[in-house]
């Protein structure tokens, strides 16, 4: 293990299909509530699609920032508004120039660009109000920095489904390098025609309730949302303890079936955190519900941890939020740690039909209502495996109560 500068995850905000308030999302997670997933007929021609859509009203982006006005940034703004006090405090504490912003996204404002092009097809001109910063990937972080008035470095990572995890990894390094004293790091993704039609074209999307790790799994369910964390170089609280990254050198859209890249990233995250597999109290799976992901991930998790580590996929509740998923699921682990008490931590249940696939390595999938007894420091691990073979695994931990 390398000596790390501390990396505190000081505050968290998120919005997803389960809601926009922390309590609401937490209750949905504990209940394994799949009822918030809804059907949409307007995304893929001739196909009704079950999705994890954010249905709470979104705030309007101020007119001074209208060049950034798009659904993706409105999702980010919904989260920023909930974190306003924390963010204002940190800017006052360290100064604007010492606050960086690293966001992840795989969509940026593509849904608005699609609408602008529909307008163009009908009227021969792009929709009024459409502007390029809504569409370019850099705009996802650019908007957050412009809204906050931060003056530290700003960029957007886009490595498909590992983008959000990677944003937290980069935040930790920016703090360790001394370039920033605080980093606003997270990720946002929006349901849009491009990703829904793209994943349907890849035959990766299920027409049924998400059913990760089941013998009946039919593919992934897409979702949208935003999760943003305030990251500082402070001791205590909930820490980002480990980062493990790998590429697969295998295929542009399919994981290595042997799970070698996933395994390497998990082992690297443990090594980086100075932990052994037995130290991990819970694994938040990538768990997309595609035949290939679940086969390779279950095998890789069992190779690293054995069959006893409690594990679940929360994508069955909010959908696969693609670029946002890594930050979202780190956020779920953050909530578990923040709400743990009396030597007990609530584990997030795995929502599925309970039909084990005999072809998969045998994971210990969490049942509803399960709690784990914990002592001293608690460590949780979350997997994100991106398209193009880009993996990023994070370990979060803290001394209870944190």
């Amino acid at each position: 293990m390398r000596e790390h500068a501390p990396c505190r995850l000081r505050a968290l905000g998120m919005v997803n299909a389960l809601g926009a308030l922390s309590d609401e999302i937490w209750q949905g997670l504990l209940a394994g509530d799949q009822s918030r997933l809804t059907w949409r007929d307007d995304l893929v021609p001739g196909r009704s699609l079950l999705v994890g859509e954010v249905r709470s009203p979104l705030p309007e982006i101020p007119s001074a920032l209208r060049r950034y006005r798009c659904r993706n940034n409105a999702l980010s703004l919904a989260v920023l508004l909930g974190l306003e006090a924390e963010l204002a405090a940190v800017i006052a504490e360290v100064g604007r120039g010492r606050v960086g912003v690293v966001m992840g996204t795989s969509t940026s404002g593509v849904s608005d660009a699609e609408a602008a092009l529909c307008h163009n097809a009908a009227h021969g001109v792009l929709a009024p109000g459409f502007d390029y910063p809504q569409l370019e990937f850099g705009g996802a972080a650019g908007f957050v920095a412009a809204y906050l008035g931060s003056e530290g470095p700003v960029y957007t990572l886009s490595t498909a489904c590992s983008s959000g995890a990677r944003a937290l990894a980069s935040a930790r390094s920016l703090l360790a390098l001394g370039v920033c004293d605080a980093v606003v790091a997270g990720a946002t993704d929006t349901l849009c025609g491009l990703t829904t039609n793209g994943f349907c074209a890849l035959q990766a999307v299920s027409d049924e309730l998400p059913n990760p790790m089941s013998a009946n799994r039919k593919g992934l369910t897409l979702g949208e949302g935003s999760a943003i964390l305030l990251v500082t170089r402070e001791e205590g609280g909930i820490q980002l303890e480990g980062v493990g990254e790998s590429s697969e050198a295998h295929h542009m859209s399919a994981p290595d079936p042997a799970g070698g890249g996933a395994e390497n990233a998990m082992r690297e995250a443990l090594r980086d955190a100075g932990l052994t597999p037995a130290d991990i109290a819970y694994v938040n799976l990538h768990g997309t519900g595609t035949p290939l992901n679940d086969a390779m991930e279950s095998a890789a998790v069992v190779r690293v941890f054995g069959e006893q580590v409690p594990a679940s996929s929360t994508k069955a509740l909010v959908g696969h939020t693609l670029g946002a998923a890594g930050a979202m699921e780190a956020g779920f682990c953050w909530m578990m740690l923040a709400r743990a008490s009396d030597g007990q931590i609530a584990l997030l249940p795995h929502a599925w039909d309970g039909r084990r696939d005999p072809a998969l390595a045998r994971l210990r999938l969490v049942d509803k209502g399960e709690r784990a007894r914990v002592e001293g420091r608690v460590h949780l691990l979350t997997n994100s495996f991106g398209f193009g073979g880009n993996n990023c695994v994070l370990v979060l931990g803290g001394e209870l109560p944190c």
Binding site: P45, L117, Y132, G139, T159, E245, S247
Partner: protein, 219 residues
């Protein structure tokens, strides 16, 4: 700069090359040129492009608007980390890799992201590959920067052979005239950086938009 066509990327296996976009060919070309063969599978990588596959995505947006099905291969090859995936496959590289975009500061933030990789693993070199091609013509009038088709690769390490550079980041309002030449709309930063790298008479380069200034200095 600004010319038509793209490198043929003959080093890629035909199956991979067939699907490659102009941007992928250009970025992979400089990645392979800029990194010695024996290091290609060992370096960490940062792929940076302000616009990514904007132009190649445009027909996909149009297909969606018309309710036509997408080609799975075209979707796969227009994601922002397509070049990272291609490089990993073509060079057998299993190391960490980032793909990013940072508005007009794309090159400077790619350099910074490379430093975050050096922070995570100080003993391993980082290959930074940055490039862009023209965006979809319908969007071009909205752009705040001169367009250029280019790709640049840099191999960075804390120590070793090569040009030694210092790097720092400053914030706050700039005084007018305190910076190097910055035509408006400016060339993409990567090109300004390459120009400076070849101009040994100028010890220092400052780039950056708004309150951010990224400074490089010959050590």
């Amino acid at each position: 700069m600004g010319c038509e066509g793209s490198p043929d990327a003959r080093f890629l296996p035909p199956m991979l090359r067939r699907r490659c976009t102009a941007l992928s060919k250009a970025m992979l070309h400089v990645a392979f040129e800029g990194c010695p063969a024996e290091e290609r599978s060992e370096v960490r990588t940062v792929f940076a492009s302000r616009h990514g596959e904007n132009k190649e995505s445009f027909p996909l947006f149009e297909s969606i608007a018309k309710g036509q099905p997408l080609s799975p291969a075209k979707f796969t090859h227009t994601v922002h980390n397509a070049q990272a995936g291609l490089f990993s496959i073509a060079s057998g590289n299993r190391q960490a890799s980032s793909s990013l975009s940072g508005e007009r500061d794309t090159f400077a933030t790619a350099f910074l992201e490379a430093l975050t990789h050096l922070e995570r693993e100080p003993g391993r070199s980082v290959l930074v590959v940055t490039g862009d091609v023209a965006i979809a013509p319908l969007f071009a009038p909205l752009l705040d920067e001169r367009e250029a088709a280019y790709a640049v690769a840099l191999l960075l390490a804390w120590n070793g052979e090569g040009t030694k550079l210092g790097f720092e980041l400053a914030s706050g309002t700039k005084e007018r005239g305190s910076r190097g030449p910055s035509p408006d709309p400016a060339w993409p930063q990567a090109l300004e950086f390459v120009r400076w790298l070849h101009d040994e008479g100028t010890p220092r380069l400052e780039l950056g938009v708004g309150p951010r200034t990224f400074c490089w200095q010959r050590a």
